[in-house]
Symmetry: C2
Amino acid sequence: MAITLKDVAAAAGVSRSTASRALSGSPLIASETRVAVKEVADRMGYRLNRVAGALRSKQSHVVGLVLNNLINASFHTIAEVVQRRAAAEGYQVMLCITDADPRREESFLRTLAAHGVDGLIMVGTGRNTAMANALLAEGIGVVNVIRAAAESAAPSVLASDREGAHAATSHLLDLGHERIGFIGGLMSANSGLERFAGYEQALRERGRQVEDSLVERGPFDSAFGSEATERLLRRNPGMTALFAANHEAVFGMLPTLVGAGVVIPRQLSLICYEDIPWLRWWQPPITVVDNGAGELGDLAMNLLLQQIERTGRSAALVQAGRTGRAYRVGAQLIQRSSCARPSAG
Amino acid sequence: MAITLKDVAAAAGVSRSTASRALSGSPLIASETRVAVKEVADRMGYRLNRVAGALRSKQSHVVGLVLNNLINASFHTIAEVVQRRAAAEGYQVMLCITDADPRREESFLRTLAAHGVDGLIMVGTGRNTAMANALLAEGIGVVNVIRAAAESAAPSVLASDREGAHAATSHLLDLGHERIGFIGGLMSANSGLERFAGYEQALRERGRQVEDSLVERGPFDSAFGSEATERLLRRNPGMTALFAANHEAVFGMLPTLVGAGVVIPRQLSLICYEDIPWLRWWQPPITVVDNGAGELGDLAMNLLLQQIERTGRSAALVQAGRTGRAYRVGAQLIQRSSCARPSAG
DNA sequence: CCTCCGGATGGGATCGATCCCAGAAAGAAG
DNA sequence: CTTCTTTCTGGGATCGATCCCATCCGGAGG
């Protein structure tokens, strides 16, 4: 059997209460006693039983992380950052992968609650907002990342997709491009909607309009990127720049461009959304809009820790009936070598 | 306050014992009682408190997953698969990211034990095998994936790196290539060692020897891939094929090849290790050795569940003083269009 | 009619830590 | 010397489910 606090207390010649105080860093204890108990504890190889602690104190030191998948670079970056920050603060992370399925999401929320998590960070589907709000009301911390339903009472950390797309498009316009292709995501997704809006807005600000023949929108996968690129090239010989706003599609677009013999940036300027390491190693290095996935995760974790630390704060938010404050992490245009002025011919 | 089993029992007019039996699917109960209690429970919105359950029954329904990072495709694939399988079996996953740092690994093992995990799957550094064996002896399930120390008492699920590299190299030799470049990982890593061994073996079987000028070995990152590719091209004008055995390096190699104007497969045949979606969408689609990351995760989870289900089985293994059985997931050569016979000139 | 058996149920103890309250020890103030 | 703080410690209750043991009941068998 494992060594329990009782054993340590007995060995150290103090009561369980005192031993508990010594090891949990309570101020209500003489420092010599603390040292003595600690010494005994790790001589015996004592290991705190967090399960027992969680039952009594209602603090599990576990947080949930709910997201669609780990394939998408933004998601696994967030997962890594959240895990690291959590570990550094003494929390463990329960990982839940929903595949963007609301039913799975609901089941995970229920299960996380059953495990007594202190809080959770979610890339929500938006279909279980009521349940998430209920958890919040129970005192479980909740933070939305990337997506947030309007009725969510929890704070949200969002990317600046619209601004990012606006910056990218403006940059291309500044260089003198007139016919800028757009490959984006479905309008049912938040990112699809906002990035297209940013593209449109930048064009309108220069007195231009969106040309339908320059726009391709589709699912988040590389096959679509490949096909969309082919269609755009075929349809628009005059296209001098391309804005890839659908991350997954990029994996299909780049090889297709290479295969078509398109020289970047001489024949075509290119900007991609969401930075990933190897885009910097491409030939030529690709200009990107960095959506700040790491910062999204970091900020989300900060907000969650805030809620957890001041217990009841999250519950209070709900009672006030207010919807959660939204935070935006700025998008950043990282200029590399894939953009140039359009060539005369 | 949340609804407890006591509340449900009271509402249903039975004792806590009976209520517990009804909801946990014990056979020692009349089926009408079971139905009645269940009905009451979900009418009241009862949620089992797994923390309390874990304390008493020593079954937390949580498993740990310890790995280096989530950037590497094999790792996040394993993480996804393990999470999915775990969820389907009623388990939750605690995610731990070690960065391959033995100190962090040790800390995580300790913490996972403190949280009472039923078992854990680890991509180990090999420096905490004693501790992992100790956990196994305590009855916590342990399974190694990808890497396994010789002294580990836990079963291991390993990739067939040597065979995979052998198959790739043999394939190139079969096509008639004589000078095959190799870009691999550090020999301190298991995969680096075995893949090189496979390359060497295939050459030797054909009466050839490794030419040092054709070999580049270095860290697992894209910068190295880029530099290594440049060096190989400069040094070996006669190189007609290239085997990329370092996954991370691939991200640097491909763009460098494109930049150098190397036509694949006419000028150079190429095989990469570890399949990732977009290699299929490359122009031309790249022939790869699939190390079966998904299967690795799946098999590891199966072995873990086996250990957990028959309690004490893992402990018994240790007592016998035997080292854990090793399982191999076969590597698979997926032929696409990046390999051809060397051109005459 | 009584005993025995097996299925079904109830009550108390238990897991291991933390919380709460009472109280001891030591020092300060009168 | 007494009284009152202040500081520290101990013991019991507690968190919520599960386990173990005792009991109860109806029916079968003697």
